[in-house]
Symmetry: C5
Subunit: 307 residues, 5 copies
């Protein structure tokens, strides 16, 4: 996630890093070449009837508007739903921590409360690693006792197993009379919410926008941009390449942003800052437990990117 | 569901399999023929006043934009709602499994916990078969004891009856003191969620988008594409067939994708991978029960299709 | 609801029954007449300056796009919400039936369980009759004991009174120790859901889209269609009537579908098949109770219409 | 709320009352005057280069489409949310009434049940008066015992205080053993819903659409309508005033409807019929209590307006 | 938040304060200068082929419509979600206050009820200060006892710690038998809601719309406005600067409003009136406790701005 400080409107016009421009630059050069060819050979092609009117492009533009509008809004919705799920993870972790402190009859400094809290943090880190397909072991060993970390590091769905562990704590507290059955149920409901969050993230990760859409949208954009100079050259003359590249830039950049937001759990500049959220969860839970020295918050790296 | 690995933007332009192109190829050829006829006889038809302006098509395009935008978004919403319901099925199955393990006083390896877990898997498979109108018997006999499987295989709404069976387990545990009434209620709430999921899927399956829409949209698209060459031939000349086919491709492909996503429970390439989700549920529940040898995950078949 | 089997794309173009065409045919003929008059007298009117450009219509089209897009999506949302409410009715009836069987200590064949189940079915039928303003008595007398049916048949809000009756059963079971208070509450929560469903349907029935919208949209469409030939005749010549009728067809048909879906509880072809859903509820509840002979499912009547 | 019976499509074209036309008639006359001036002096102005093309207006139309589409949908959403909240009020009042009758051990004709039911009705009426800034005293004195009505009539947030009173009944019943704690909680959850409804209505009432939007949209519409004749006069000639007024009518009427629906709690023709809903709540609760003589339902007044 | 009283439609056209005009005035002057240069040198530039057609701009306008429509609706949704969260805060604070009064066995004037109520108010103020990055100390010291205020004023996530304090009250009441476990759970559920509200606001504050969008939209708007005079000068002549500035005004103002609403917790005129909502919460809770002298409601300051 890019966390740029507010930029003056004039400098924003010339932003390079963090904008989508570098990624699509080669393709824009290709479109520029086509446009230059059309402008240069304009005089010769007229004999062959290879002209197109702007009107034809406004008809194609209709389909393009539907495609890009849909592509954009559905990708952004996925991004924002993912963000909401991670926001809910922070909320639920805090709620469970608060409930563990106020609902059980354990003293505030009891070891089991500490272990429970560590498991909550481990859930967040494990989900992060599952979604990004990275190695969870360093975080598991850091947060959990060695045997448990070892046991968890070989399973397939680690967050599910962490929830089973959390439920075991509740179950033991319930059977030994440390928590009333009603309050057990109430905390278990929050475990259900954590399960919802895990399932929601897995759904976003494993189900991209249907493949047929991607092909159709991609093809329409490129076909449109390649043919565009033929339609503009009559009315725009030598400015044809400029306008063509400008239009191509807007469409390609939009498609590029959308396909980047579609799968928001990666390491690209516009993806969600899962590491920073995990750290926030860790810091917030520690503070609620009364710790005064907290690990530092994640800070944006070069180019204002927070990952 | 097609699970293509990321394809280079250039190769994506020429994708054939998995794109919607093969399905609509004959109709595009029909449109192409019309366009060729118009171009060839252009000189002769002018005498009869059979010309149309591009402007007229932008007026029709207005209705088309509303129709296709609506068709597309309502179909995709149905698809995505169906996906959410199946994601929720995975979540709820896990939650019920976790609750059965932590809330009852049964030892972890008790036979009834095993049977309960098998019933949860059977629910997923039975719903899959109901929605796809396939034969559920092989999965029922594989997962459940013979008499129960036999009894279930003749009823009309199998998932409902599986829920009744699951409720019977909870009821017996409750009456024999193996689970507190509060926790019974809490697990029963998750059975309600499973019932919601079943009902939601049935709703999507039995209620397509109103028939009058399909007729109206279909008719507008074809009428538009057939008339289009008359409107373009003046300004586009010999390029008329190319532009006509391109525009027809975008509209027909969009309608085709939309009507494919409208009923997302079939076996078409863009439908949901229900079999794979059922297998994921099976694997996840087995792992939570401590099984170490899991059945293999479903892998995409030829053309990257996961069903 | 029309439940057409999939139709070949070519035959779909010429569908008459079930399409909206018959309803708007007279008005299309009126528009056609206007267009013919304009084409025939075109030569004479030019002297009076009665020409319009296509451009002016694209400006009006802007407002039309907003109106029709809004009209269409808000009507469809009402239709789909109504469908969801009736889907939820099926789900909740099943859940209450399952809970009555597993949560009470009554034997499975107890008369009160039977009566409770009949009341659930009566709720669905009574709501159906209330929404369609039809006579509920035949269904009430069929499903309920005579005195109760007689008592209910004279009240104003029958479904509310059925809920009071259902709550009485729960109350009696609770006071006689046949159900724990927790489980009473849990079943009562599902009664609340039934109340939500009733209220939601009543809201859709009694609150149409604001009247000022209907007037505004209606007026804009007709004004647009009547003036359209003046704008097309210059560029489309003798094809003007064809294009005018085609455009008028798309707009009027869309408005007609939308106003039909706006109030989805009637008997029109595109309305919801409430009778069929009531029958499904009846069949599903009977099957859950162990009945093996079920009343037949509703089948589509002539023209594939299910009501 | 206007509850027009279905009107024949032809007569709908000439509706005057209940349409938005009277409200914007003077402004349309102003636009008409401008258009007439432009047409009359057209010959003279050409020398000064004061011509505009239709194309320029389609560019401005782009912004207008975004503004009006947004304005319309956000206002309608507010209207529909308000309607949902009042629908939920009816639902919750019924549920609480049903619960009071089935969950407490009080006999059906106990005075406290009567008072509880009266308080529920008073909640609806008090909220109605708060939202419409009218005097609640007549309804309070009608429904409640004199001392309570007097006490409530001087507070600032009457519905909140009615909820406190309702909670007091529950609290007393709970402490005197007339209701189990579980069922107390269950009824209290419905009080929370009533609180949600109150808060939701207050939010809609106190937070209009941001002021900057209103200014921007308003200004764009009027600027557009005043300049429009300059763009149309070349291509539409003497029909310019007709087309200008028609376009201005669609835009101004839409803005007018939207700003009327934005604050749906007033007494304008398109506002919600809060009085009628309050009466429905009163009738429904009385019927559930077994009353056979109900106060008459609200009927639409002149011009089919229900308030 | 600007709470303008209804303004006459004619005066609204000339509103300056509270409109977005002052903020973008310099940029509009820049656009005006470009347009004037183009008009003045129009005769000379024609020789160089530097003309553009309006048609080209309608193609670019397509992308602009998608961008601005998306930008506007996503920003407004964030604004409205934030408003809903603060509305829910008022609702939940009232509910908790009501529950504390009716569910505990404490007398109505007990000191702990007073402290609990003060903590609820402190939660609202602390969240306000966290979101606006202002100093919470004056409000904390005003509402809470000195030691607690001092302890809270140094932590990082103050609202979380206030929730821990609120939970401590519930926990103590529960352990000393002043509240039943069921009712404890019920109030704790409302604490969870407060946690949801906090988390939702934090999410909106820390996650702006992806940076790449801002760059892309900003760039497209400015490029469009700078090039626009070249496209209009042929058809609009001396009116080119007027039309250009008018179009630029609509686009820039819309972008400006959207980026203002995107982060709705600041002190700009269109931001939410958090101070006023906090005061409403304070007043409402005090009234429910029976206080008769309430602190004054926040009134709009100069220019009708409520902050």
């Amino acid at each position: 996630m890019i966390v740029h400080p507010p930029v003056h409107w004039f400098r924003l016009l010339f932003a390079w890093r963090g904008s989508i421009l570098p990624a699509i630059f080669p393709r824009l050069m290709l479109v520029l070449s086509c446009a230059l060819v059309v402008v240069i050979f304009h005089r010769f092609t007229q004999g062959f009837g290879l002209q197109l009117s702007v009107g034809a492009f406004s008809l194609i533009g209709l389909a393009l508007a539907i495609f890009l509008g849909f592509r954009n809004s559905s990708s952004y919705e996925r991004y924002w739903e993912a963000r909401k799920l991670w926001g809910a993870l922070l909320i639920n972790a805090r709620s469970l921590q608060r409930q563990a402190m106020s609902m059980t009859s354990l003293p505030a400094d009891h070891a089991e409360l500490h272990e429970f809290s560590q498991l909550l943090q481990a859930f967040a880190y494990a989900l992060n690693h599952q979604l990004r397909c990275t190695d969870p072991r360093s975080d598991l060993y850091r947060l959990l006792p060695y045997p448990l970390a070892k046991e968890l590091s070989v399973v397939r769905y680690i967050p599910s197993m962490v929830l089973v562990q959390l439920a075991q704590y509740l179950s033991v507290w319930y059977r030994t009379g440390k928590i009333d059955v009603i309050l057990f149920q109430s905390m278990d409901a929050n475990l259900n919410h954590l399960s919802d969050i895990q399932g929601g993230c897995e759904r976003i990760m494993t189900t991209p926008i249907p493949y047929a859409y991607s092909v159709l949208i991609h093809r329409t954009i490129y076909m449109y941009c390649i043919l565009l100079p033929l339609g503009l050259v009559d009315s725009c003359g030598v400015l044809t390449p400029l306008i063509t590249v400008f239009i191509a830039y807007t469409f390609m950049a939009l498609e590029n942003i959308a396909s980047s937001l579609e799968l928001p759990f990666g390491f690209e500049p516009n993806d969600l800052a899962l590491n920073a959220i995990c750290r926030t969860i860790e810091r917030s839970l520690l503070e609620m437990r009364g710790e005064t020295t907290l690990p530092p918050a994640c800070l944006p790296q070069k180019n204002y990117i927070l990952d």
